[in-house]
């Protein structure tokens, strides 16, 4: 049996922004998901002794089913190894290097049939970003990281400089969140499910869903997804097209990943976002509108 596709999340941000701290948190909040984390240096990964099952030269295995390993010489070869791993993890979290272009890594998840795009998270250092961005040598590469983000997280300050916020708003339409905000792990790691499939969702989540016989052509669906309802962080589901074809939909932040799949009994779609930011009625209007 072929295992389900591997969801790939890329954590980006300049040196010292707080990528490792975020990864430590994700590992602690895996909630039943088998996460595999790929980092440059796992000296910095901080695993509780009672959560650590075994430690080898380049792999840490956790009691909760998660694995942490070093990337080695070639990130893509390491990705291939992650796909071939038995059992295959549910989610691959990649810590990009401080100057990496995260989209160049995340694109692989869109291209590879056995992977799904899980989003680019960029951690922004509130105290240093504006200064480092002004550095002629590396400014452009840091801007790229912010521009590519599906989720922007601000670290090191609860009350960031308004100048930083307006700078980030100029670079990316995604509203920045504080890195310690609740539910970040849940938004990143949990696949949204149809309401019938699971018990009640967390109170700070907001969810919208649809199930019915609606059919859509690729171009219409694509233009709808290119303008998603405000605040929807993830949209997932299957949209039937014709007798032979359906579309498997993954939207994370501002990134759309649509693939061909066999038709389903019905079209089903679910969207999630954070309370106060995402409003289900907007999603309902968005879904029912005919405009592109």
């Amino acid at each position: 049996m072929t295992p389900p596709p591997l969801s790939v999340v890329v954590i980006s941000g300049y040196l010292g922004a707080g990528k490792t701290t975020l990864i430590n948190r994700l590992l602690g909040q895996a909630a039943g998901q088998k996460i595999m984390v790929m980092v440059n240096d796992f000296g910095a990964i901080n695993i509780d002794a009672d959560l650590l099952k075994s430690a080898e030269e380049d792999t840490l295995t956790l009691t909760n089913g998660c694995v942490c390993c070093t990337m080695g010489a070639d990130l893509f070869l390491a990705m291939g190894d992650a796909l071939d791993r038995q059992p295959r993890p549910d989610i691959l979290v990649i810590e990009a290097s401080g100057v990496a272009e995260p989209s160049k890594i995340a694109e692989a998840a869109k291209a590879e049939p056995d992977m799904r795009y899980g989003g680019i998270v960029t951690v922004v250092d509130a105290l240093n970003f504006l200064r480092t961005e002004a550095d002629m040598r590396i400014g452009a590469q840091l801007r790229e990281q912010v521009i590519a983000a599906d989720m922007l997280l601000i670290s090191k300050s609860k009350n960031p400089d308004p100048a930083l916020i307006s700078r980030l708003e100029m670079l990316n339409t995604v509203a920045p969140l504080h890195v310690d905000a609740p539910l970040i792990s849940a938004l990143l790691l949990r696949q949204p499910r149809m309401p019938s499939a699971r018990a009640a969702i967390h109170a700070e989540y907001v969810q919208w869903s649809f199930e019915g016989q609606k059919k859509m052509a690729f171009d219409d669906l694509k233009s709808k997804l290119d303008n998603p309802p405000d605040g929807a962080f993830r949209i997932k589901g299957f949209v039937n097209s014709d007798a032979d074809t359906a579309w498997e939909v993954h939207l994370v932040g501002k990134t759309v990943d649509v693939r061909v799949c066999p038709p389903n009994p019905s079209t089903s779609l679910v969207a999630i976002g954070l309370k106060g930011i995402f409003h289900p009625e907007n999603a309902e209007n968005w879904w029912n509108s005919n405009g592109r």
Partner: protein
């Protein structure tokens, strides 16, 4: 006492100023015992005369200071490049200058494959082809039943046929930007960057790891070196596990292995606090034929890919300045740690902003801890001027200049990347000489072919692919170029006391040539036949 062999040659160019020319060289225990005339070793006792090389010209075995082990094993794929090239077995592959020739070449290669094998090609370079871009229709003409994959010479692009596209489920709906689509909305077959190439590589079993460290990769690297007259060769980016090291020790230690291997540890894959210790541990595992202990660091990208970091006025076409592969502050940090621990670094620097940064980083490391004599080497150094070379000389930094670029990419640098002014002063060997910096020249094989005599020719003639001279003022003499590919390179590897010249006490490593590169026309240096090598007194003729 071991036996003494006296090799007789038509001429021996020693690179030793004490005895520049000779006709005989005596060898005992793999080392040079005496140099001179027929009786040079008489005082040492009984000897055997070897006349096998009597019609050849001997030079010190060439030292290639920047190559990659895959230069040999990449030949397991079909060659599809623009320039003529010779494979490890000595077969000349004619360059393919139009798409029809590429298709014909790949079709011929297909005959050797079984039905279920994919057809994999390498070395295709679109920058030289002015006709339409290679696409799936061209490759469908080769096969509609097996995947056909052509990897471009820069390893950043590939073109595949329809079977391969289907295998990776690429279609008009694919959203990855690297899947190039035509005006009809369908994938053209061209795939850009690793993210889009990855699904194909996974499915056709194209794994670059197989091209290094494996026994057959080492053997064919040895063959390539031998065919070029090289007796000491670097592998400048090596992931070395303990298992890899014992395998390398085993293979290089075999009496039929013709070349001394000098791999540098990939400094980007080990945590910064562990690299120095790992390098020191590796150094302790060195043998005569395997020299470990140096570390390779990356800074910027490539000039022809517009990813090198350049100083003002940056790129000729107004493209954005390149990228750092390692953040500048990390380069400072790594340099400081490695220098303090006494580890030699080879630092990749293509653009002049990158070379300046590397010099700054080494200078800062030296200000904290002198640790003299480590001979850190800047690699490529393509845009360095005499000002940066002088700083290197002051600090004891060596440079390894990418002279082959003048021929392979010089026209493109003048027209597209840097413009005529800076193209003329690229890979500036004369400036390096003027500054008194220790320097060598290199091929970066397989990016360009491993062939030190060709590299020397590039430094002497500075002729581009189209036949123009690029930078008259930077030409060096044939003798200076021969020094660069022997003693110059040996110095950068801390091996100049063992190899690089034919003098008493050094390894009996020779390049065996069919003619004298100092008396042929300078324009013919590249055509001097390489007949093989002598490595530690063992003769390897091709």
């Amino acid at each position: 006492m071991s036996e003494i062999t006296v090799f007789k040659a038509k001429k021996i160019i020693t690179l030793d100023p004490n005895r520049p020319l000779a006709t005989h060289v005596a060898v005992r225990s793999g080392k040079i015992l005496a140099v001179g005339g027929a009786g040079c070793a008489d005082g040492w006792g009984k000897s055997t005369l070897n006349t096998e090389l009597e019609n050849t010209v001997l030079l010190p075995g060439f030292v290639e200071g920047h190559a990659h082990m895959m230069a040999g094993s990449v030949w397991k794929y079909a060659y599809a490049g623009f320039h003529d090239r010779i494979d490890p077995g000595g077969v000349l592959w004619r360059g393919m200058t139009n798409i029809d020739q590429v298709i014909a070449g790949l079709t011929a290669h297909q005959e050797k494959l079984s039905d279920d094998e994919p057809l994999l090609g390498w070395g295709f370079d679109p920058i030289f082809l002015s006709s339409e871009r290679l696409n799936k229709h061209h490759l469908d003409a080769i096969s509609t039943t097996r995947p056909v994959v052509v990897v471009y010479s820069n390893f950043h692009l590939m073109c595949v046929n329809s079977v391969a596209l289907e295998l990776a489920q690429f279609s008009r709906h694919s959203s990855a930007v690297g899947v190039v689509k035509g005006s009809d909305g369908e994938p053209t077959g061209e795939l850009r960057e690793m993210a889009a190439m990855f699904p194909i590589m996974r499915r056709v079993g194209l794994d670059f790891r197989d091209l290094s460290q494996k026994p057959d990769a080492m053997q064919s690297f040895g063959q390539v070196a031998c065919r070029a007259g090289v007796t000491t060769v670097t592998d400048l980016y090596s992931s070395m596990t303990d298992a890899d090291v014992s395998e390398m020790q085993r293979i290089t230690g075999h009496k039929n292995f013709p070349v001394r291997l000098v791999p540098a540890l990939n400094g980007m894959e080990t945590p910064p606090d562990k690299i120095a210790a790992r390098a020191i541990d590796l150094k302790s595992q060195s043998t005569d034929m395997l020299r470990l202990g140096a570390v390779k660091l990356m800074t910027d990208g490539s000039i022809q890919g517009w990813t090198a970091r350049t100083k003002w006025p940056h790129y000729f076409g107004g493209q954005p300045n390149g990228i750092w592969i390692t953040a500048p502050e990390q380069i400072f940090d790594l340099t400081k740690r490695l220098h303090a621990a006494g580890v030699q670094m080879h630092i990749h620097v293509n653009g002049d902003e990158a070379s300046e940064l590397a010099i700054d980083a080494i200078q800062a490391a030296m200000a904290e801890n002198a640790n003299p004599g480590l001979r850190h080497v800047l690699q490529h150094c393509q845009m360095m001027g005499v000002d940066q070379f002088r700083r290197c000389a002051e600090l004891g930094i060596c440079v390894n200049i990418f002279s082959n670029h003048i021929y392979y990419f010089g026209d493109q640098h003048a027209a597209l990347t840097l413009g005529p002014d800076r193209a003329e002063r690229m890979n500036a060997c004369q400036s390096a000489l003027d500054a008194g910096v220790h320097f060598t020249v290199h091929s970066d094989a397989p990016v360009t072919p491993l062939a030190p005599l060709f590299t020397a020719w590039c430094a002497v003639m500075r002729q581009t692919g189209s036949g123009k001279t690029l930078g008259e003022a930077q030409k060096i003499t044939p003798m200076q170029a021969l020094h660069a590919i022997t003693l110059g390179a040996a110095y950068t590897l801390h091996l100049d006391h063992e190899v690089g010249s034919i003098e008493v006490g050094k390894c009996a490593d020779f390049a065996v040539l069919g003619d004298d590169p100092l008396t042929v026309e300078p324009s013919a240096i590249k055509d001097v036949p390489v007949l093989g090598t002598v490595s530690g007194g063992r003769v390897f003729l091709v």
